[in-house]
């Protein structure tokens, strides 16, 4: 049902200046094929939402090496020397978000919440410019939903209606980001016939997935 497209077709869908969520954690569970193709296509001025920036050549790394990213929203960028250099020089604008807040903000956008109240970040730099809500004597930050034009995600298995199954710690941000973008593009390790993923193993229903990358011939 869902169109399986080539990685080049996927890249063509994404314009310069787009806001892009990229799944993965320290390079694990990242759609590496799309990342390399985006970097190779020389995309510009992207806003990238990603948990971390992995290392120079892993995870979202190639996008920084190719100067595709204008603004980065992440929780950790300590192990990527290119990101550190671009941040120091002012080339890269960075918004640091605590990891649990990041995933809840993405989820909030995906499930239609107007925002969430969290104690994480109260009394720290993260609270700057944010509304504090006090309930029953306890302070919370009001954190707003975070959504994207595109979510680029990875999966272990995908069927032709777009159902996704993930494997072990490669799951991470994938099922949450699949909820929170206008267009969701998945790069699975394999595409299987419809009905081959047991209903209880599907972690992202195909109705959320717009495009699936087919393996290059």
């Amino acid at each position: 049902m869902h169109l399986a497209i080539s990685v080049e077709e996927a890249v063509d869908l994404i314009p310069d200046g787009a806001t892009v969520m990229l799944s993965g954690f320290m390079g694990v569970g990242v759609p590496d094929g799309i990342v390399h193709a985006l970097a190779g296509a020389g995309k510009r001025e992207l806003t990238l939402i990603s948990n971390d920036t992995a290392r120079d050549a892993t995870g979202p790394g190639p996008l920084f090496a190719a100067h595709c990213v204008k603004k980065l929203i992440c929780s950790h960028m300590g192990l990527n020397t290119i990101v550190q250099a671009q941040f120091a020089s002012g080339e890269l604008e960075v918004e640091l978000v605590p990891q649990g807040t990041l995933v809840e903000r993405i989820r909030a956008a995906g499930v239609g919440l107007g925002g969430i109240l969290t104690p994480t970040g109260v009394g720290t730099k993260v609270a700057e410019g944010k509304e504090i809500v006090t309930l029953d004597g306890k302070d919370f930050l009001l954190e707003k939903p975070l959504k994207a034009d595109f979510a680029l995600i990875a999966a272990r298995s995908c069927d032709y209606v777009g159902n996704l199954a993930y494997m072990l710690t490669a799951t991470n941000f994938n099922p949450i980001m699949a909820l929170a973008a206008e267009t969701v593009i998945c790069e699975p390790e394999e595409i299987v016939p419809v009905g081959m993923i047991p209903p209880d193993l599907v972690k992202t229903p195909g109705v959320l997935v717009d495009h699936v990358i087919r393996a290059s011939a």
């Binding site: 954690f25 320290m26 390079g27 694990v28 569970g29 948990n51 971390d52 992995a54 892993t58 992440c74 929780s75 950790h76 960028m77 300590g78 192990l79 550190q84 941040f87 960075v94 640091l96 605590p98 990891q99 649990g100 807040t101 995933v103 809840e104 989820r107 969290t118 104690p119 994480t120 970040g121 109260v122 009394g123 720290t124 730099k125 993260v126 272990r156 993930y166 494997m167 072990l168 710690t169 490669a170 799951t171 991470n172 941000f173 994938n174 099922p175 949450i176 972690k203």
Partner: protein
């Protein structure tokens, strides 16, 4: 015993049977090496696992099974996978019994700074703000000094990780506990006099009576 092993051995004593524990990168990671496996402790990795085990033998690693540092790990029997929302749900919802983290600074009030040195290096907080804010118990495990400077200070000058006070600080010299009235020196490393600890510590340390030595021999 090298300083890191000493710290890890001492922290291991704080871990209750059957608890859920998150170990940060660096010295905290070593703690699991000194823990009796019969205690049935489950290690959580914030990238989405409960029940992490050691690195598997060469040839048995899998790129879908990694820890929060991206290193290959194994699963113990009874392990489970979580997505990031569930993983931080455990952390923020008070289901994590203990987190052990490193720090750049800790102060007399028990405040911790571990994610940015403005103007020099800003790695980001990753999951640290959530861990320190949400875990039932927070232990800082770190070397007492960096480049000859005390990491235990009267008040943090680096950006804070949380306003929550940590529960215990373990270094290669001492075990310290922040209380209402200040930072208490609870234990000293074997053969380290209290005067040496005070000399190496920028913060004021409160003692009440004799300060006992750490007891490390009970560890496996």
């Amino acid at each position: 015993m090298n300083p890191k092993e000493l710290i890890a051995r001492r922290v291991a004593q704080e871990i209750a049977p059957r608890s859920l524990v998150n170990l940060g990168i660096g010295i905290p990671t070593l703690v699991s090496d000194y823990l009796d496996e019969s205690l049935g402790v489950f290690f959580q990795a914030e990238n989405g696992a409960v029940g992490m085990g050691h690195r598997p033998p060469e040839g048995m690693t899998d790129r879908h099974l990694t820890d929060a540092g991206g290193r290959f790990v194994s699963f113990v029997p009874g392990a489970s996978t979580l997505d990031s929302a569930f993983s931080f749900g455990l952390i923020r919802g008070g289901h994590l019994d203990l987190t052990v983290l490193g720090a750049l600074q800790v102060d007399e009030k028990g405040h911790l700074a571990n994610w940015a040195i403005p103007g020099h290096y800003t790695p980001g907080m990753g999951g640290a703000m959530d861990l320190v804010t949400g875990a039932k118990k927070v232990i800082v495990a770190m070397q007492h000094t960096a480049k000859g400077e005390s990491k235990i200070v009267p008040e943090c000058t680096l950006p804070l990780t949380s306003q929550r006070q940590v529960d215990l600080i373990v270094t290669e010299l001492a075990v310290m506990k922040p209380e209402e009235d200040g930072l208490h020196l609870l234990e000293r490393a074997p053969n380290v006099p209290v005067e040496v600890i005070r000399e190496m510590t920028a913060a004021t340390l409160i003692t009440s009576g004799e300060v006992p030595e750490m007891q490390l021999n009970a560890c496996p």
